[in-house]
């Protein structure tokens, strides 16, 4: 009984601390915000309403605008796709080199793990902004930035999978004198490929969002166009609406597609 009471006390205290943190955190954030929460709350609908009503008035132009921004959309998708591919290849090597039993240089395992930790911790915007300064605006800074983060993030997920691989095929290959690359390619990859592809697809979804956001800080693609059209303000809301529509439908589309494929990939595996 005493134990139950003590547990209740702990639970209550945790809840209390949590509530205090939430309320005070909210107040601090509200204070430091330019506009207050309660003033802004009833204005939430204003901007979408303005955009929608203007877009509706000019609805005849929308197909033309969507066609106009389609190349930007392709660029955004390309950034995501290339960086996912490069990131997946990098993550593959990082994870294999950082997994016990598979690593080529077992002593360097901690180093490769730290490298992937750091790559994962760097927000894309940091690398993107620095590279924009050096390389100028455009898709390449965003691509490199997202690829680095993706490599780190995928390396962690991949190594969770590859830790559970069956080592027998690897040993078998080793007995025939296969090199490390051959052992990995023929012994490990077939075992882990479905899971890896599934994680890479999930990452692709995330990266589409990331590449749109990075465009907003100057790295090309749809986000960049969105910032420009927003800077025009009223009168050009139809352009903003066209970009919103493109972005929204793209994200939904790739979410659905990758969801379906991921389900199929992990289905026939059996737990």
């Amino acid at each position: 009984m005493a134990q139950v009471q003590r547990r209740r006390l702990y639970g209550g205290m945790t809840l209390l601390i949590f509530v205090v943190l939430m309320v005070s955190g909210f107040n601090v954030a509200d204070d430091r915000n330019a506009g207050g929460f309660w003033d802004g709350l009833h204005q939430i609908g204003d901007y979408p309403a303005d955009v929608l009503s203007e877009a509706w008035e000019k609805r005849a132009d929308l197909p033309a605008l969507i066609a106009k921004y389609f190349p930007a959309l392709v660029e955004t998708i390309n950034i995501a796709a290339v960086s996912t591919l490069i990131g997946a290849i990098g993550g593959l090597f990082l994870s294999l080199l950082g997994t016990r039993g598979l690593a080529k240089w077992p002593r360097l395992i901690p180093i490769f793990r730290r490298i992937s930790d750091i790559m994962r911790a760097v927000p894309e915007i940091v690398i993107a902004l620095v590279l924009i300064f050096v390389l100028g605006g455009g898709p390449v800074p965003a691509m490199i930035a997202i690829a680095i983060h993706t490599a780190g993030a995928l390396a962690k997920m991949f190594s969770e999978v590859s830790e559970n691989t069956d080592l027998k095929p690897v040993e078998g290959l080793a007995s025939t004198g296969a090199t490390w690359l051959q052992r990995m390619l023929l012994g490990v990859l077939p075992q882990v490929a479905p899971n890896y592809v599934s994680y890479a697809l999930l990452r692709f979804e995330i990266n589409i969002r990331a590449s749109a956001i990075l465009g907003f800080v100057g790295a090309g693609g749809l986000g960049y166009e969105l910032r420009n059209s927003m800077a025009w303000g009223p009168g050009r809301f139809d352009e903003a609406a066209a970009i919103f529509i493109l972005l929204f439908s793209t994200i939904m589309f790739f979410d659905q597609v990758s969801n379906r494929y991921r389900n199929r990939l992990t289905e026939g595996q059996g737990q």
Binding site: F18, L21, M22, G25, F26, V28, A29, D30, R32, N33, A34, G35, G36, F37, G40, L41, Q43, I44, D46, Y47, P48, E75, N78, A81, V82, L85, D117, I118, R120, A121, V122, P123, E124, I125, V126, L129, V130, F133, V134, L135, G136, G138, P139, V140, M143, R209, A212, I213, L214, F216, V217, G223, L226, M230, F244, L247, F248, I251, M252, D255
Partner: protein, 437 residues
């Protein structure tokens, strides 16, 4: 087994081999073709031309070093000394760096026998080993020099502007002013600015030495001078990091609180009405699909820039994600526990509390804590758009294009912050639901 069976199996196996071979070579080939397409679509050839290597060099050298400017205003003849040429880093009246000597003629020793002399009447003499003595005279808006016709590439000269770059430092001269930049490794004034009495004092002196400022005790004075350091703005940086973490915390937790009841509505087992279920699911899909970027833009219009807007953008997007994850977790709940609780005569609410919640809490907590870490990164990016937190400070520092040591400082802090949140959420998860495995 008959021969026909064997043949059929053989045929099957061969087909399988062929398919595997096709995939094995086909996928890398498709990827290679795609990379070639990207090579041209992203104009990587043109990029080499557009890339500004000078920027890269400035960035690489400035991020770990600082420069001290010695500036002569050629109109008033006034000479000022400052770190990074900023007003905040200016040496107080009567003080100057110890590599500057002389009164009428100011002698600046850049090291390795590179010497610059500011002579009266706006004349300048520059001694560089292996090169003849350079004399420059500024009159009005133009410069007269004794420089020869063909110049080495580290000197650029016209009658308006002369600029000399050496490994020891840089000298630029125009009619209006003469400037010498002397480079040093390290982040100068990181602890105290020059106007603080604690500048240049060792930690031993501050802790145990004589009182440096008659009005304040050493420790509290030193801490307050460091905290209010005008160059590095430690106070603002700390607030900014706090804001970023706050955005992530408020957004993640708020989303979890809102998504939990909605998750019940979307789960087949707990929500008998198909219409409600479908509505909740479409709502999740919608807020997820709109994406944090658009939410940030829309919410910034209503709430103005600041951390609250960022927190709300994270909250709205993650409500969709959490709702989806929670409802999936709820559908996989074990019915037996609920029946067990129900058999004791528990009311529906009690059944949820004791039959369902204990089963899903570990799954939910693990997800929430994972998102807390990933949202710290998102909050950095959203902060750069909506104007709050360390993301904003980073973008501002990069846009001014000169304080690269501050950029490096912020980057290190951001990485440390994300790694800390990663560790912290892992630690909390371990405490709350036990380690994995």
């Amino acid at each position: 087994m008959t021969t026909i069976d064997l043949d059929a199996t053989k045929f099957e196996a061969e087909k399988l081999f062929q398919r595997k071979r096709l995939i094995g070579f086909g996928i890398p080939a498709v990827i290679a073709v795609y990379f070639v397409y990207i090579f041209f679509a992203f104009d990587l050839v043109g990029l080499a031309g557009r890339a500004n290597m000078e920027n890269a060099v400035t960035l690489a050298s400035d991020s770990w070093s600082h420069k001290v400017h010695v500036t002569r205003d050629n109109r008033s003849g006034e000479i000022s000394y400052s770190v990074e040429g900023e007003r905040k880093g200016r040496y107080p009246e009567g003080q100057r760096p110890d590599w500057v000597t002389g009164d009428d003629a100011i002698i600046i020793d850049l090291g390795r026998e590179h010497i610059v002399r500011y002579l009266p009447d706006n004349r300048t003499e520059i001694e560089i080993p292996g090169f003849s003595l350079i004399k420059v005279h500024a009159e009005g808006r133009s410069l007269t020099t004794n420089l020869p016709e063909d110049l080495p590439e580290w000197i650029s000269a016209s009658d308006r502007r002369v600029s000399i770059t050496t490994p020891e430092g840089r000298i630029t001269m125009t009619g209006a002013r003469t400037e010498v930049f002397n480079y040093f490794p390290g982040w100068e004034l990181f602890w105290f600015t020059l106007d603080s009495p604690y500048y240049g004092q060792g930690i031993g002196t501050i802790l145990f030495g004589d009182q440096l400022d008659p009005n304040r005790s050493n420790v509290s004075g030193a801490i307050s001078d460091w905290w209010n350091n005008a160059m590095w703005r430690h106070k603002d940086v700390a607030w900014a990091i706090g804001e970023t973490i706050l955005m992530a915390f408020l957004g993640t937790m708020g989303a979890a609180i809102i998504a939990l009841p909605l998750g019940f509505l979307a789960a087949k087992r707990f929500s008998p009405f198909m219409l409600v279920r479908a509505a909740a699911r479409r709502l999740f899909d919608f807020v997820r699909g709109v994406d944090a970027l658009i939410w940030t833009v829309v919410l910034a219009r209503a709430f103005g820039p600041g951390p609250l807007t960022g927190a709300l953008a994270i909250l709205v997007t993650d409500t969709g994600t959490f709702g989806k994850i929670f409802s999936e977790a709820l559908e996989n709940v074990d019915q037996k526990q609920i029946e067990g609780v129900a058999s004791t005569g528990a009311k529906p609410l009690q059944r949820y509390r004791f039959g369902v919640i204990p089963q899903i809490v570990p799954v939910l907590l693990a997800q929430i804590l994972y998102f807390l870490e990933s949202n710290t990164r998102s909050a950095t990016i959203i902060g750069a758009i909506t104007g709050g937190g360390i993301g904003l400070m980073l973008t501002q520092a990069i846009q001014t294009q000169k304080d690269w040591e501050e950029v490096a400082y912020y980057i290190i802090l951001i990485i440390a912050m994300v790694m800390f949140m990663d560790w912290f959420s892992g630690w909390l998860r371990g405490k709350l639901i036990g380690r994995k495995n």
